[in-house]
């Protein structure tokens, strides 16, 4: 069986993890993070969740565009471009 059960277990371990949360726009390309919370508006939160960016999900930041452009993240197989302002509303934790 695949080891994807970690998504549900992440939700409970979030409280105990010590590493401090920061926003998605600060993450450097190549790093993996776990989403703690999306603090965007209702519609945007929904849209992000539809693309797999929701509390507990693991993301890999692939690229960060210059000039305050969007960041490109990979979440469970799909790639999503998220505007810098929107990324500021996604709270994440680094995964080593």
């Amino acid at each position: 069986m695949p080891s994807l059960t970690k998504i549900s277990s992440n939700r409970t371990s979030k409280l105990t993890e010590p590493s401090p949360a920061h926003t998605l726009d600060k993450v450097r390309a190549g790093q993996s993070v776990k989403v703690v919370e999306t603090a965007a508006g209702q519609a945007a939160t929904l849209q992000l969740a539809q693309l797999g960016i929701r509390a507990g999900a693991t993301l890999v930041v692939r690229r960060s565009a210059p000039l305050g452009g969007p960041i490109l993240v990979e979440s469970s197989g799909s790639t999503v471009a998220i505007g810098r302002g929107m990324a500021r509303k996604v709270l994440v934790q680094s995964l080593e």
């Binding site: 939160t45 969740a49 929701r54 505007g83």
Partner: protein, 636 residues
């Protein structure tokens, strides 16, 4: 019988649609919206069905006009069968929509498309297992190679008249399940019975979906239960329901798929290059320059071919009518209109639309939006606005219609105004025929660059006139795919139709009006009326008419110019400065009639009037600016 193709964006629905529908497809608007859908009458085993290709949706909670149209179709048009297309390589995410769809109680077949891609990614899916878990037929398909499509429709026909088995077997967590049941009971005891299954309605009411309605007492019960869910779970009820569906999809995925090592994918390296913070932009420039160079190269070849033939044909037709008479004027006007469409616009529009469909289907356009979002956001625009603006270089009409992909009204307005400011293929023809021909290609390039600057400036200014924080970009960037020719052809045809159906008749009508105006010497009054403007721009009064009638057809201004001036060698009558000023004015001022109609459809009358006034002022100012700057340089 209606069969709906439903799936998430980029799941390959259109490829499946095309493989059974061929070219005999029609497009129509959703009732009450401007969102288009494609449908086709297909024959399946002695049964005739209407196959409808709905816009891609991530879930039945809609976030833009196209999505809500797809949802309305499913809720109100009673399709006999849903073919739910899934990208097998994104199985767990796609199953969330499947779970939502099966609540509708409509017979349904699941199409696991892109099985080869899933395998490449190391996902082994047991479709039998998935079918057993979902209690739905599941068919493995590789649509672009035609694998499994026949089987898919055979299974679909078998599933007809068999609504999905009750969904309860896929258990939700007990506390949430209880809440859903309570709402269901309320619905069942309420007098006005609904056509939709009560479980579906109950869930939608808990999600606070505005598209479903219920009796007031049911609504108040649902409100109370929502509040209860929020209290017990510590977050909004819709988010509770959504994660429930997500967990369920995850469980289905785990029980039906196994993960192995993915194969290495050369596309990842390509994408790293094309989204690189430096090389990404170098390639973007190269791709766009190459694209326009190819379009215009190919277009001018076609134009020479077609224009010559049509010119000969219309000359022979006109020879049969006595010159100088009313009949001659009418016929000449009509033929001009036909020729303008077939000989000038189509040769550039068709290669443009093909090139664009290629970039789109390969998956490059979302990368363009990604690369440009930073810059556009500084101006105050949404990164996705780049797509209609690029379309604007082909024809403003499809460009205006393409603004629908933007989520906010303000962004749609800005994008459509800017898209009409970029020179469409008709205006590019004027730039080439006047500026490139008389002053040299570098001058033409200069006009295109100047135009781009003005578009950027206009965007910046209009964004400040309507200050609203543009919702940040959230855009799925699909993996690269080799385009399927038939899908591209259909896309080109659907966009071309908008030109053929909407613009061409107007173009022909406009030419007719022009021909009659010339016949009755109405141009004299137009020239007199416009003399302040022509004087301001330093143009001879005789070009006044050309400017008025350019509204009917932009490239007609060119033909009119030679008519008005009474000579084919424009440079003997107009100075270099005057040629540039004239071209700049034509490029910017009021979009053509066909575009105005499209604008009214998309952004309303008031906004269209504003856009027209804005472009008129802009064209005058820019023409004046060009006159003031160029006069000392060019006139020696």
């Amino acid at each position: 019988m209606k069969i709906a193709l439903v799936g998430q964006p980029n799941c390959g629905k259109s490829t499946i649609f095309n493989s059974v529908a061929g070219y005999r497809t029609a497009t129509g608007n959703f009732p009450g919206t401007t969102v288009q859908l494609a449908w086709s009458r297909v024959r399946l085993d002695h049964q005739v069905a209407d196959l409808v290709d709905l816009p891609g949706i991530y879930s039945l909670v809609s976030t833009n006009p196209a999505e809500s149209a797809a949802k309305k179709f499913l809720l109100s048009e009673n399709p006999s069968l849903i073919i739910n297309v899934l990208d097998a390589s994104l199985l767990s995410r796609s199953l969330e929509l499947t779970l939502e769809l099966r609540e509708l109680g409509i017979p349904m077949v699941v199409c696991l498309n892109m099985m080869d891609e899933a395998q490449r990614r190391g996902t082994k899916i047991s479709s039998q297992q998935l079918a057993a878990l979902l209690a739905l037929p599941v068919v493995e398909v590789i649509a672009y190679r035609g694998v499994g499509v026949r089987e898919l429709f055979r299974e679909g026909l078998r599933a007809l008249n068999q609504p999905p088995a009750p969904a309860e077997f896929i258990a939700w967590h007990r506390d949430i399940e209880n809440v859903v049941r309570q709402v269901e009971r309320e619905l069942e005891s309420s007098p006005n019975a609904q056509e939709l299954p009560s479980r579906f309605l109950a869930i939608k009411l808990l999600e606070n979906d505005q598209d479903v309605s219920a009796a007031p007492e049911v609504l108040s019960a649902a409100r109370r239960l929502r509040a209860e869910l929020e209290r017990t779970h510590g977050r909004p009820a819709e988010s509770v329901v959504m994660s429930e569906r997500h967990d369920l999809a995850m469980r289905l995925f785990e029980e039906s798929a196994t993960l192995t090592r993915p194969l290495s994918d050369p596309r990842a390296a390509l994408d790293n290059l094309l989204t690189h913070p430096l090389w990404g932009y170098v390639f973007l420039m190269a791709i766009l320059v190459g694209f326009f160079w190819a379009v215009f190269g190919f277009g001018s070849l076609l134009e020479r071919e077609i224009s010559g033939k049509i010119g000969l044909l219309s000359a022979s037709l006109l020879a049969g009518v006595p010159a100088g008479g009313l009949a001659h004027a009418v016929l000449a006007g009509l033929l001009d209109g036909v020729q303008g469409g077939a000989g000038i616009v189509l040769p550039y529009l068709v290669p443009f639309l093909f090139g664009l469909a290629f970039l789109e289907d390969v998956g490059y356009l979302p990368r363009v939006a990604y690369l440009m979002d930073g810059l556009l956001h500084r101006i105050g625009l949404h990164g996705t606005s780049m797509l209609p603006i690029i379309l604007g270089y082909g024809c403003s009409v499809p460009a205006c219609l393409a603004t629908r992909i933007l989520p906010s009204r303000r962004d749609r307005f800005l994008a459509s105004v800017l898209a009409t400011l970029v020179p469409c293929s008709a205006r590019s023809t004027v730039i080439f025929a006047l500026v490139a021909f008389y002053l040299g290609p570098m001058w033409a390039l200069g006009i295109f660059c100047f135009n781009a600057l003005v578009v950027i400036f206009s965007g910046w200014m209009l964004a400040r006139l309507w200050p609203e924080i543009s919702p940040g970009m959230i855009l799925e960037v699909p993996r690269y795919q080799w385009p399927v020719l038939s899908v591209m052809a259909r896309k080109v045809w659907m966009r071309l139709r908008e030109f053929v159906v909407l613009s061409w008749p107007l173009l022909i009508g406009g030419s007719l009006v022009l021909g009659l105006a010339a016949y009755w010497n109405l141009d004299r009054y137009a020239n007199l009326l416009l003399s302040p403007l022509t004087a301001l721009l330093g143009l001879p009064a005789t070009v006044g008419t050309t400017l008025v009638f350019g509204v009917l057809r932009k490239e007609l201004a060119l033909i009119m110019l030679t008519q008005a001036l009474g000579t084919n060698s424009v440079s003997t009558v107009l100075s270099a400065t005057q040629i540039v000023v004239f071209t700049i004015f034509i490029t910017f001022y009021i979009p053509c009639l066909a575009t105005l109609v499209a604008l009214v459809k998309e952004i309303g009358k008031k906004m269209t009037a504003f856009a027209a006034a804005y472009t008129l002022i802009l064209a005058t100012l820019m023409g004046l600016l060009a006159r003031l700057i160029l006069t000392p340089i060019l006139s020696r």
